[in-house]
């Protein structure tokens, strides 16, 4: 069955992973800008990275029959240096017209600091000004609950942002309802140890339904699985979920959210 991987950091993965993704049914990959595991020392490093995910990765994916889209931003882990962060933000408009760019992301918070929050607000302003979709990263582990609330309250301070044009990612059992109740979309991330297992993800679908939810792997340079979404699809089958249910979560829902961007196109 075909599916969409709505959150994968393919710059950190080998070309073999593109091949395996295609064999597993993946036809579209979306790559948010993120932290590469170390802090970049200049805005030029970010410009090169934005070039990589908007020019090089689409070609690498296309060689394996996968359409590649990107989100552009400065991630919250590198937001503490306000001067550098603002220099990077000034670069972002140059990339928003590229044909594979879906919007601003993955912005958000990491340690819930004042500077992270300031830069988050500035990203939201940028998204409003350029009429972009938004993909939001919520913090890890003990910081997630507080950070999610700060993020949702910050978004509410921008009344020009339509809630259905914002996806709150990495939700877990204690944050999923917060995001959905504000009218946003929510992403459940299938990531070992620090986020969510396939079984827990499907539990959340059992409890909260299918509306405005998607699954992603967020595979990156850490211990993670690019095939986490098809693994979850298999788990749904083990529980007796219909093929239509599986398609709703792994194809139709991401397609609905992403189609709010005029640059997103489903394959023929």
């Amino acid at each position: 069955m075909r599916y969409i991987e709505p959150h994968a950091h393919m710059v950190s993965r080998t070309t073999d992973d593109y091949e395996r993704l295609h064999l597993a049914g993946c036809r579209i990959v979306c790559e948010p800008a993120f932290w590469a595991g170390f802090d970049r020392s200049s805005a030029a490093g970010f410009r090169d990275y934005f070039d990589q995910i908007t020019r090089f990765e689409p070609k690498r994916a296309a060689a394996y029959g996968i359409a590649h889209y990107a989100w552009i931003c400065l991630n919250p882990k590198e937001a503490e240096d306000l001067a550098l962060a603002r220099e990077v933000l000034s670069l972002i408009p140059d990339f928003l017209d590229r044909p594979s760019v879906l919007g601003i992301g993955e912005i958000g918070l990491n340690k819930n600091s004042r500077n992270e929050l300031a830069i988050f607000h500035e990203h939201l302003d940028l998204a409003v000004h350029h009429r972009q979709l938004i993909l939001v990263h919520t913090p890890h582990l003990e910081d997630k609950r507080k950070g999610t609330q700060l993020i949702l309250d910050a978004i509410r301070e921008h009344p020009d942002l339509a809630p259905e044009r914002v996806l709150i990612d990495h939700v877990e059992e204690h944050t999923v309802r917060l995001a959905l109740d504000r009218g946003h979309w929510a992403g459940i991330t299938l990531y070992p140890t620090s986020k969510c297992s396939a079984a827990r993800a499907i539990d959340m679908l059992d409890v909260h339904g299918h509306e405005r939810l998607w699954l992603n792997s967020a595979c990156d340079w850490g211990v993670s699985d690019p095939l986490a979404v098809p693994q979850a699809m298999r788990e749904m089958r083990r529980r007796g979920r219909s093929e239509a249910d599986i398609a709703t979560i792994t194809w139709q829902n991401p397609a609905r959210f992403l189609s709010q961007s005029p640059r997103f196109h489903l394959p023929e």
């Binding site: 340690k111 582990l141 609950r145 529980r239």
Partner: protein, 92 residues
């Protein structure tokens, strides 16, 4: 799913995870030195497994979370350690 289906699909996995947790706590018991605050929080979460109320997962995640609401002055480090560092054994 009915309860027999949940049992068929998940009992053996749950049994394995419970024994792994027990072995980890045995390992901690044998080890020297101070007990990290995160273990206190983990132990405080165990009664949630035995009570009859729903939403055990969310309640455990909440117990481990930072309960404060204001942004911190600065992000000194990037990582998270699994339990809010302000957690104390008498945290309720």
């Amino acid at each position: 799913m009915d309860k027999p289906q949940v049992t068929d699909l998940y009992f053996m996995d749950a049994r394995s995870r419970l024994i792994e947790l027990a072995a980890t706590l045995d390992r901690l018991h044998r080890a020297s030195g101070e007990t990290d605050f995160r273990w206190h929080c983990l132990m405080d979460c165990l009664p949630i497994l035995q009570d009859t109320a729903p939403e055990k997962t969310a309640r455990i995640l909440e117990r481990m979370s930072d309960p404060t609401t204001a942004p911190i002055p600065a992000a000194g480090e990037k990582g998270a350690c699994g339990v809010w560092p302000g957690y104390r054994r008498d945290h309720t």
